[in-house]
């Protein structure tokens, strides 16, 4: 069924108006537009964060464990006396960037591999899918850890490590649908009209999976942030005072009962980011659907 954006578009059609012209789409505030606006605000805040806050992210700026709205700290201070707001703002930037790069990169890689496998078929398919299976069958954390350990611990290596364990998901999803699309008449027709190879694949099969891949990717943003945190937590990400949201929230969990603000605000930031992307993914999906139909 159409998502809300489409529902709105079909709204006027259901009412029997007297005008014979094309229906005028009523502009309405949808969750997707709100999400888009929110994303803009979040990005701006993250970029301007360092300018907005009087504190540094890695130097104590108050007594530890200050509650929110006390001593000039809107979101309180953490166990080391760092200002939580400053770190959440800085963390948003790092995590947003990292998550986007990782999700985008792995979605692209997975899409490509899945598409090639599904499109070419035969032994290429078997080989690529066995490799994919291998990665999927392997507990992701272990692979990521090995890669990061091999590259040397840093945020960059964690990003690479996670992208490498994340792409198979997309490859699997893409491959099935591409496989089906590759057998359809319109692909045969395009092949007959002289389009071959990569072009045939990209133009005539890949668009079928785009909505699914995009939707999945948008949903993964939060997961990627948390996985980055998991790696950072076992010493494979950037080291401690670096303000990463996931790391701050998971490391802060031990203070939850007494100083809830230490883990909760970073976690809320993670949640907010992925909520925004959830809605954006939804919006994107309906746009793509509407264009594809």
């Amino acid at each position: 069924m159409p998502s809300s954006a489409e529902t709105d578009a079909s709204g006027p059609a259901a009412t029997t108006s007297s005008s014979a012209g094309a229906p005028r789409a009523r502009r309405k505030v949808t969750p997707e537009t709100v999400a888009l606006a929110a994303l803009v605000i979040v990005v701006l805040l993250a970029l301007l964060g360092p300018l907005l806050s009087p504190y540094a992210t890695d130097v104590p700026s108050g007594t530890p464990y200050l509650a929110p709205f006390s001593g000039g700290h809107w979101l309180g201070t953490d166990n080391l006396g760092f200002d939580v707001l400053t770190r959440v703002l800085a963390g948003t930037r790092i995590s947003l960037f990292a998550a986007l790069v990782v999700t985008g990169g792995s979605a692209l890689l997975g899409l490509l591999i899945g598409a090639v496998a599904g499109f070419v078929g035969g032994w290429v398919d078997s080989l690529l899918m066995r490799i994919t299976d291998l990665f999927l069958a392997f507990p992701a954390t272990i692979v990521a850890m090995a890669i990061v350990a091999a590259l040397g611990p840093s945020l960059r290596s964690s990003m690479i490590g996670i992208a490498i364990v994340w792409w198979p998901l997309y490859a699997r999803i893409a491959r099935g649908e591409i496989r089906r699309a590759a057998g359809s008449l319109h692909v045969e027709a395009a092949r007959m009209s002289g389009t071959h190879g990569a072009r045939l694949m990209l133009r005539h099969t890949v668009p079928t999976v785009m909505p699914t891949v995009l939707v999945t990717a948008s949903l993964d943003i939060g997961g990627v942030i948390m996985t980055l945190a998991a790696l950072a937590f076992i010493g494979l990400g950037s080291p401690a005072p670096s303000p990463e949201l996931g790391l701050m929230s998971s490391a802060g969990m031990q203070y939850l009962l007494d100083s809830w603000w230490i883990p909760v605000f970073p976690a809320v930031a993670v949640g907010l980011l992925s909520l925004i992307f959830n809605y954006l993914g939804d919006g994107l999906r309906s746009v793509l659907r509407a264009r594809g139909a």
């Binding site: 890695d58 104590p60 530890p64 166990n79 080391l80 006396g81 010493g235 080291p239 009962l257």
Partner: protein, 500 residues
């Protein structure tokens, strides 16, 4: 037993419900070498000697030995054994058990095997007298026997029936055949463990009939369970912030006991930043350790000025030689450490290590020295630190000696052959000095060694850790149950419900 009705959680007067924050390794008395599992092992087994519980000054007391005596050269030790003791399988305890138990420890050959490896011969003289001869002199042999990890007496009958065939077929991993006040009854690895009173126990009857351990992997859950009274106690595990918050809960009593556990700063001798002697000394001198202790350890540690753990040596000979210089870090920031980053590594499993690293990092950053802090999984910590120039520049490690003797600490921590000299730092002449001190058992020589350690600035003993325990107010006897050496292990038989 899976019938509802035999409820095993919830407070009752005869069952003590305790929480473990994670699975423990095998409670086999000859391979247990981690800590927490000793709560089981030392309830079911007893050694010949023990340290008197509940007092910081280490004092040997007899357990299954009633009298003991060393010859002048510290090579021959004679023990008179307690009579009327039976093992849990009914076998009477006598001199045969001593030899069988020592032999098994060598057979198993796990970490604590070294304690009896020096034994040349166990001579039996009647049922209740044994003489142990060592291959070479060891002034701290008695301490080894009293160590929490020390050799335990095991029923010879059980040993015969279940000879050591390797870990994959080890009856003792889930059963016990000791003389202690409790026996293992339930053993669901990683889920729960149960102890039950041994009715024929020679000593005082324990205060609780049963002890039930639940493995709970989440600190918040334990805190809630403690508050709600679903769990009677938690031994060890608490970091300073949860400790201080539990302290405030009305129905709970939070205990902090002295121990020999000593969080220590280790400096990497191959560090590109701190390898240089003057920089290192200036750096260590620039750290405000009392402040660091206060921030990182809170109520769970007290700042120290000693080098070896407290109570091992007279305080007068055991003093740090590096003194605090308030401006040193700022100088370094503008000088030798300009543009460099100090990295502090800690074992992820150590909450004090993390707190110390994080706070040190913050302190350094504040002084203008760039620093960061990285956690290592237990399996990568030791090998990570062994990477020379690629390893972190500093680490905090919270160790304790196996026994209350200075050589169990000095050799282990301060010489590359010792096992816990994490970065492999080596001070010329120090190993010889320690060896000499050990053979002569001379405090003054240990004092010299302490000065060498301190002056090298490769190590700095930050604080005395306090062993923590949190119990419901109606659990009594906690003060009489702690060990002067180790934290996280209590003598469970001393605990009793307040009604008693």
């Amino acid at each position: 037993g899976s019938t509802p009705g035999t409820t095993s959680t919830g407070s009752s007067d005869t069952t003590l419900n305790l929480a473990f924050l994670g699975a423990i390794s095998t409670p086999d008395p000859d391979s247990a070498y981690d800590g927490y599992e000793l709560n089981l092992v030392n309830s079911a087994y007893e050694g010949l000697l023990d340290y008197r519980p509940g007092q910081a000054e280490p004092k040997l007391v007899g357990r299954l030995a009633t009298e003991w005596e060393a010859n002048a050269g510290n090579t021959e030790f004679t023990f008179t054994l307690r009579e009327g003791v039976t093992f849990h399988d009914g076998t009477p305890f006598n001199a045969d058990a001593v030899k069988a138990s020592f032999d098994r420890r060598v057979d198993v050959d796990a970490g604590p095997a070294y304690m009896v490896k020096g034994v040349k011969d166990v001579k039996i003289d009647g049922d209740y007298k044994v003489t142990v001869t060592l291959k070479s002199a060891n002034s701290s042999f008695l301490d080894l026997l009293a160590s929490p990890f020390g050799p335990k007496m095991i029923s010879p009958a059980a040993l015969k029936e279940h000879p050591w065939k390797g870990e994959d077929d080890n009856w003792f991993a889930t059963h016990d055949a000791g003389t202690g006040p409790y026996t293992y009854t339930g053993f669901d690895p990683g889920v729960s463990y149960d102890l039950k009173t041994y009715t024929q126990y020679w000593g005082d009857e324990p205060g609780y009939q049963d002890v039930h351990f639940d493995v709970v992997s989440n600190m918040s859950t334990v805190q809630l369970q403690l508050k709600k009274g679903e769990v009677d106690g938690l031994i060890g595990y608490t970091d300073s912030s949860s400790f201080s918050s539990l302290k405030k809960v009305g129905n709970l009593e939070a205990y902090a006991f002295p121990s020999m556990q000593t969080p220590t700063l280790f400096v990497n001798p191959k560090s590109p930043e701190l390898g240089d002697d003057t920089t290192r000394k200036e750096f260590v001198g620039g750290i405000d350790f009392p402040e660091l202790t206060k921030l990182a350890l809170g109520d769970t540690g007290t700042s120290t000025t000693q080098v070896f753990p407290q109570n091992l040596l007279p305080e007068s000979v055991n003093q740090q030689k590096i003194s605090y210089d308030e401006g040193a870090l700022a100088d370094l920031a503008g000088g030798a450490l300009q543009g460099k980053t100090i990295s502090c590594g800690y074992a992820e499993s150590s909450s004090s290590g993390q707190a110390l690293c994080d706070n040190l990092t913050a302190m350094l950053n504040k002084a203008g020295v760039k620093a960061d802090s990285t956690g290592y999984a237990a399996g990568t910590y030791y090998s990570g630190l062994a990477k020379g120039a690629g390893a972190p520049d500093v680490t905090f490690f919270s160790g304790f000696p196996d026994t209350a003797s200075p050589d169990a600490w000095g050799i282990v921590f301060y010489t590359p052959d010792g096992g816990l000299d994490l970065f492999g730092a080596s001070v010329p002449g120090l190993a010889d000095k320690l060896a000499e001190a050990a053979t002569k058992d001379d405090d003054a020589l240990y004092g010299d060694a302490a000065s060498m350690v301190s002056e090298s600035a490769y190590w700095y003993s930050v604080a005395n850790s306090l062993g923590t325990a949190v119990f419901q107010k109606d659990v009594t006897g906690v003060e009489a149950s702690w060990n002067p050496v180790i934290t996280g292990v209590l003598q469970l038989a001393s605990l009793s419900p307040s009604g008693d």
